[in-house]
């Protein structure tokens, strides 16, 4: 039961003051860049592609439901230059994502910020690239 619990931690702070500019394909107006949201879950799909890699994660909710989250990473061009490849994340991996959630409450994370990171199933932290 404990493992099924939603692992959602919201850290509100003055992140704007420490953020490094996002080099995204599009802007971040749709995301709450003042709040860092951390999500733990199971990878269901990892698309290592341009213009942005997408990480699909299923997260167990408080009431036993599953939340389908999508996280937007940098492009595969940028990621591959810092050690990522198409096999870095695989379906079934238990990972933790720290990113900025969509302002409208959708289960979507913007991962392109200096404070954003992915912690893989081996505990390795992949910072934003």
């Amino acid at each position: 039961m404990k493992n099924r619990r939603v692992s959602l931690i919201i850290l509100t702070g003055v992140l704007l003051l420490v953020s490094v500019p996002v080099l995204a394909h599009h802007g971040t107006a749709a995301f709450d860049m003042n709040t860092l949201t951390t999500v733990k879950g199971t990878v269901t799909k990892f698309e290592f592609m341009n213009p942005h890699a997408l990480i699909y994660v299923d997260v167990a909710g408080n009431k036993g439901e599953i939340e389908h989250w999508i996280a937007e990473e940098s492009s595969n061009n940028h990621l591959s230059r810092s050690g990522w490849d198409k096999n870095t994340l695989k379906p079934g991996d238990q990972i933790t994502l720290a990113g900025h959630r969509a302002r409208n409450g959708a289960h979507v994370l913007e991962m392109q910020c200096s404070e954003c990171s992915v912690t893989d199933s081996q505990g390795k932290v992949w910072p934003y690239q």
């Binding site: 802007g27 036993g64 439901e65 591959s80 409450g105 289960h107 979507v108």
Partner: protein
């Protein structure tokens, strides 16, 4: 003696040939209006793959300057008519011609000059006789800067990249561009320009690992005065330009822009489709 005469004749012939060739070059230059003070042969090595290096500067994600340049009424009207996704006027439902976040249009129109520098991908500088090529990783755009002494056409076709000529002044490569169409923005923040846009770039390599590009915008129809910005780069000696095909962005646009829900305020999050499975 006969041999000496032959040698003298040969030398004279060579000198004549060189002189004639100079006249030809001068005539060609005159026809194209080139000034002799502009060096066409490279005086600085700019070659290599470069990555933007503007650490900690939020404005650098969308522009060449933190300031909003003073606009004419015409320029301001155009500025307020667009919906960029970056900068002081950023919209979640952006209609950016390169990266729209609304509708099903993939976008992918060329960023144009100078906005192409703002796209966050690598740039390769290639110096060849008579031309400098800029090979942009973003959608593999290639920009030609002619260094063969030619001038701009008197009435150039208006294009996305414009007509660029370049020359060397000491350690600086100067690029002069006109003939840009009105479909592009100066930057990702939606700064406008007219078909009178004249872009002057000064490109330097202050040290082996750094490239500095100062960009001057001269557009009296859109701005009350000429203004400048810059973009710094760092050398990436181990990088090659990688593939990036904007037209292949369909999967991303469908899955993230259209269906994730992040850009649809009225759409509830995708969730609660099945009960959770116990963790192993």
């Amino acid at each position: 003696m006969r041999n000496n005469n032959k040698l003298m004749t040969f030398i004279l012939a060579l000198m004549t040939a060189f002189a004639f060739s100079s006249v030809l070059r001068a005539q060609t230059a005159e026809q194209s209006g080139t000034t002799t003070s502009r060096a066409t042969a490279p005086t600085v090595d700019l070659s290599g793959v470069w990555e933007a290096n503007m650490p900690g500067l939020k404005w650098a994600t969308y522009s060449f300057t933190p300031d909003i340049p003073s606009m004419t009424p015409w320029g301001k009207q155009r500025y307020l008519a667009v919906k960029p996704s970056y900068g002081p006027r950023s919209f979640a439902d952006s209609t950016d011609y390169v990266n729209p976040t609304t509708g099903k249009d993939v976008g992918c129109l060329p960023p144009g000059v100078p906005r192409i520098y703002i796209q966050p991908f690598a740039l390769e500088m290639i110096q060849t006789p008579g031309r400098v090529l800029q090979y942009f990783e973003f959608d593999h755009h290639v920009r030609q800067i002619f260094t063969d002494g030619r001038q701009h056409p008197k009435d150039p076709e208006l294009t996305w990249m414009g007509d660029s000529i370049g020359w060397y002044e000491g350690d600086t490569f100067v690029v002069d561009t006109v003939g840009l169409n009105e479909k592009t923005w100066i930057d990702r923040g939606g700064l406008p320009h007219s078909d009178q846009l004249h872009v002057i770039e000064h490109i330097r390599r202050p040290n082996h690992d750094a490239l500095e590009i100062t960009i001057t915008i001269d557009d009296p129809k859109a701005y009350t005065q000429t203004w400048s910005g810059y973009r710094n780069y760092k050398l990436e000696p181990t990088w090659n330009i990688k593939e990036f095909i904007c037209a292949d962005n369909g999967d991303y646009n469908k899955e993230f822009i259209e269906e994730s829900g992040a850009y649809s305020p009225a759409t509830p999050p995708k969730q609660k489709t099945k009960p959770a499975k116990p963790s192993k």
